[in-house]
Amino acid sequence: MKPRLLLITALLLGLSIVYACTELKRSKPILPLNEYERMIAGRLDADYVGTETCLAACHAHDAIKAAFDASTMGTQLRRESGLPLVDCESCHGPGSLAIKGITRELVEENSRKGIKTECNYETLIDIKNLPAIAKSLICLKCHTGNATFNLHEWNAGVHAVNDVSCSDCHDIHEGADLKVKPKDTAAMCLDCHQEITAYYRMPSHHPVTEGKVYCTDCHNPHGTSTEKLLRKASVKETCTRCHGEKEGPFLYEHADLTDDCLNCHMPHGSPNNNLLTLREPFLCLQCHQSHRINTATGEPKTTALKGFFFTRCTNCHSQIHGTDIPSPGGKGRFIQ
């Protein structure tokens, strides 16, 4: 490349970076989601009253108060957290109508009488009954790229399409950095995916219900470009994250079948050893013609011989995922 062309390219690249940096903070939707944005705006005739009002008079005694204080969202109420500040009303909408007529004295007096003073919740955003997209939109207002960047595929992902919202998994008022603990994921995911629990009761299964492997080891609930929300680009890449010895590439491949581990394995659980979809030798006989079932003189093979040739195929073909060493016959039979 000529030096002048190189200089121009570098200049253009530099200008692009400078422009991009000036634009870095601006993030606007291409087209606003008007209908849902109206739902989460709250009452237009209400005013904002501030977090201190919510917490000081009433919600100081809530059972969730301690957990809320320890949550990221709770710490974000305080300037000293160094985090982007939020407010109760950032999510729940302006609260002046909700506390209309409620004074601190009234709350204390009712409290002495054992009466719980309730806000007029109907004037706040009815988060529980919002459509899932609108519910998620409350979170996504802030969690676009600013604080979270693992949501690239959320909008067209299977969870969003099936009306799952952020709050179905994340407890906004509790927990460090809104994270779901890995050991809690099984109970949470299986709550909706009940049918999967049956697999974890089978003789061969990944130790998910035992708490040793987590749903999020393989799946990314925030959406991916792969089927089944796999964390990696393919089934094989997902499996070989742990089962690296089966990844290859090998000199002798099992056609392209090992590119999709699901051709032979059921990832959640199976009645058969090694999570096999079917037991050997039937598993292999689905595609492969069997060894010979008679002798050279045409007699039936003895029971012992049948046992030799029609038992677990992997007793001999033990490199079934691929091998770099030719078989005694000089081909890739996965024997050696």
């Binding site: 870095l24 939707p29 009306d163 009940q194 629990t197 009761r201 470009s225 680009a233 199976s270």
Partner: protein
């Protein structure tokens, strides 16, 4: 007896964690909360520590505790959250038995730094497949287990470290992730020594020490309405220690007697680059695209694989009642090998030609439309078409070089009555030129889910999945003549049912009953090779047997009762049992005994009683009593019982 033992390193790690724990507890400053008058007051950090002992007893096979070491050991647990703002730190640690570890800890500083470290350890007890005794009449067909008394086990340690740095007040991030996976122990290595003239099915112990490491770094930032992320990853798989075995192989027609290598576990390396971009998450129109390049190489045989992946998504939500989702993805796999290989025996070197691996190219596009005809009811329909092309197929005897998959899916879900939710999906798949016998021509799939809260004390869930697949003209390759044969059919019916009933007859008592049934039933044509039968080694016509039945069934039920005496004391008891069975039966008189080698009958039972009591001073006590039973009804090889009693004292601050 060979037993893997790798707890030394993990023990040191555990000691280190305990020291860290003590330091955190002693040095953590108090958090602040808002007092009732709005001023700030300090309160103690949230700590919970637990210690106890786990008594265990094992009778029989370790299969009953597949993922547990099953030995007596101390129990330790800690849960800490401290927020001396602007620092935020949490730690969740537990270890309930030897080689068991769970650690989830994170530290964050303002919005600038976010880190998380997750470590865990597990034991996996592996089966020892018992080889039959050699038949004295079959001198050239033998079995040999060189370690008949060995028990096999691997210990796995996983470490996952995530670090994110963010520019203050700007949406620009730098991040890195390290994932480590160590598996070491002793496994059963089965292999064949010899060839058709003289064969010995052999089993021996093999020490393994596999280490997978993956490091990913990347950056992410906003450029107006576009967010862009770039990541680069390096992964390595290294089998430490001897990665290949050697044995004396008898002479065959193709090669002389010699000591040859076998069962090589190659070292592999992977390098990947991904770039992802998307428009805003929140708009009426959102779009995302990702592109990735993955390069893998085998360090032992110099085979290289390149995978190019790409995907795009477009979501358009013009109104609440109507949404469109368009997706596209592709994947190209290209594998390049040396074409020849040299087998190096102790005294001989033999060169072999290697057929080229298959290269694949996959494309898929789908459109989904969702509507809400009325509040609480959603309808969705989608169509996708995918195509897979194979190349370098000349030496693979595949009839077709491509297959096309058309899929139609209809879904309805929502709430029809108060407390009643449903979800139902029907999927029809049609394959043109299915490449392998396991691919159907057509497939129908039905998925049902219904849950109903009858009263506040009665909650039910029912799920049912049915899949029916049909395939005509199965395709086999005659391994003797290397020619394709087309014959027979395949029918596959799959059921998975799960019912759940949760009763809360009294305010403090709940009863959960669940039943599950799984069945995978097949009827397929099998093709058996034959000798011509004239005393020569010439092949005869293969024999096809139609409709050979195969089935797997698993029935499980569980009952659980929880009673809460008060806020401080509760007990629960759970009992579960799973019956699994499987068989396949051939009517061919020559092959009839095959089915006897493929039986499955297993009953697993688990019982547990748990109790918890908290005292006034923050102390608490937790107990667990457990019993597990594994009953292998085919040959009793894996029968075993496991008993457990655990006592833990806890203290909360």
């Amino acid at each position: 007896m060979t037993r893997s033992r790798t707890a030394t390193g993990r023990g040191k790690a555990r000691c280190g964690l305990i020291v860290l724990l003590v330091i955190v507890v002693l040095t953590a400053p108090a958090r602040e909360i808002l007092a009732e008058d709005g001023s700030r007051q300090a309160y103690s950090p949230g700590y919970s520590l637990g210690a106890g002992y786990n008594w265990t007893g094992l009778d029989g096979s370790r299969r009953v505790i597949e993922y547990s070491s099953g030995v007596k050991s101390p129990v330790l647990g800690a849960d800490i959250e401290v927020y001396p703002l602007p620092h935020r730190l949490y730690l969740d640690l537990s270890t309930r038995e030897r080689d068991d570890l769970y650690l989830d800890t994170g530290y964050a500083y303002k919005e600038v730094l976010l880190s998380r470290f997750i470590a865990r350890g597990l034991t996996h007890n592996l089966d020892h497949y018992v080889l039959p005794a050699s038949d004295p009449d079959e001198a050239t067909r033998k079995y040999r287990d060189r370690d008949t008394n060995a028990s096999y086990q691997t210990d796995v340690t996983t470490t996952d470290l995530f670090l994110r740095l963010k520019t203050p007040d700007y949406p620009f991030h730098l991040f890195g992730r390290y994932f480590g996976y160590d598996k070491e122990g002793t496994v059963q290595q089965r292999f064949l020594v010899g060839y058709f003239n003289d064969m010995t099915v052999t089993s021996r112990s093999r020490r393994i020490d596999f280490r997978t490491e993956e490091l990913t770094i990347g950056s992410n930032g906003h450029f107006g309405p576009l967010e862009v992320e770039y990541t680069h990853g390096e992964k390595s798989f290294v089998p430490a220690g001897p990665k290949v075995l050697e044995d004396l192989y008898p002479a065959t027609a193709q090669r002389p007697e010699d000591v040859y290598p076998h069962n090589l576990v190659p070292e592999t390396r992977t390098s990947s680059d991904y770039i992802r971009a998307h428009s805003s998450y929140t708009g009426r129109i959102t779009a995302s695209a990702s592109f990735g390049s993955i390069r893998q190489s085998n360090q032992d045989s110099s085979v290289e694989r390149t995978i190019i992946v790409g995907a795009g998504q477009l979501a358009f939500i013009p109104m609440d009642a109507l949404s469109f989702f368009l997706r596209f993805r592709y994947r190209d796999l290209d594998e390049e090998g040396p074409g020849t290989t040299v087998l190096r025996g102790q005294s001989n070197e033999l060169a072999y030609k290697v057929r080229p691996s298959l290269d694949t190219r996959q494309r898929e596009i789908s459109l989904c439309i969702r509507t809400r005809p009325s509040r609480g009811v959603n309808l969705a329909g989608s169509y996708s078409v995918g195509r897979k092309d194979l190349s370098d197929t000349e030496e693979w005897l595949l009839a077709d070089r491509n297959t096309t998959v058309n899929t139609f899916e209809f879904k309805a879900y929502g709430t029809v009555l108060k407390g009643a939710r449903f979800r139902t999906t029907y999927k029809y798949t049609d394959l043109k030129n299915p490449l392998y016998n396991t691919d159907p021509d057509t497939s129908h799939e039905l998925d049902l889910y219904a849950s109903y809260t009858l009263t506040p004390g009665v909650f039910t869930v029912l799920t049912y999945k049915l899949r029916k697949e049909r395939r005509d003209n199965l395709r086999f390759i005659n391994t003797r003549t290397e020619t394709p044969t087309e014959t027979g059919q395949r029918d596959n019916t799959f059921h998975n049912v799960l019912g759940l009933l949760v009763l809360t007859p009294w305010e403090r008592t709940s009863v959960t009953v669940s039943c599950g049934y799984y069945k995978n039933g097949l009827r397929q044509t099998l093709l058996y090779s034959t000798f011509l039968g004239d005393g020569s080694s010439e092949p005869g016509e293969p024999i096809a047997e139609d409709g050979v039945p195969y089935s797997d069934e698993s029935t499980s039920y569980s009952v659980g009762i929880t009673h809460r005496f008060n806020d401080r004391t509760d007990v629960s008891a759970d009992m579960g049992q799973t019956f699994s069975k499987g068989k396949f039966r051939t009517e061919n008189t020559l092959a009839e005994s095959i089915s006897s080698f493929s039986m499955l009958r297993v009953t697993e039972t688990a019982l547990s009683i748990k109790g918890r009591h908290e005292m006034n001073n923050g102390f608490g006590i937790e107990t667990v009593l457990g019993l597990r039973d594994y009953n292998d009804r085919t040959d009793d090889q894996n029968d075993g019982k496991f008993y457990q009693a655990m006592l833990i004292l806890t203290k909360r601050w």
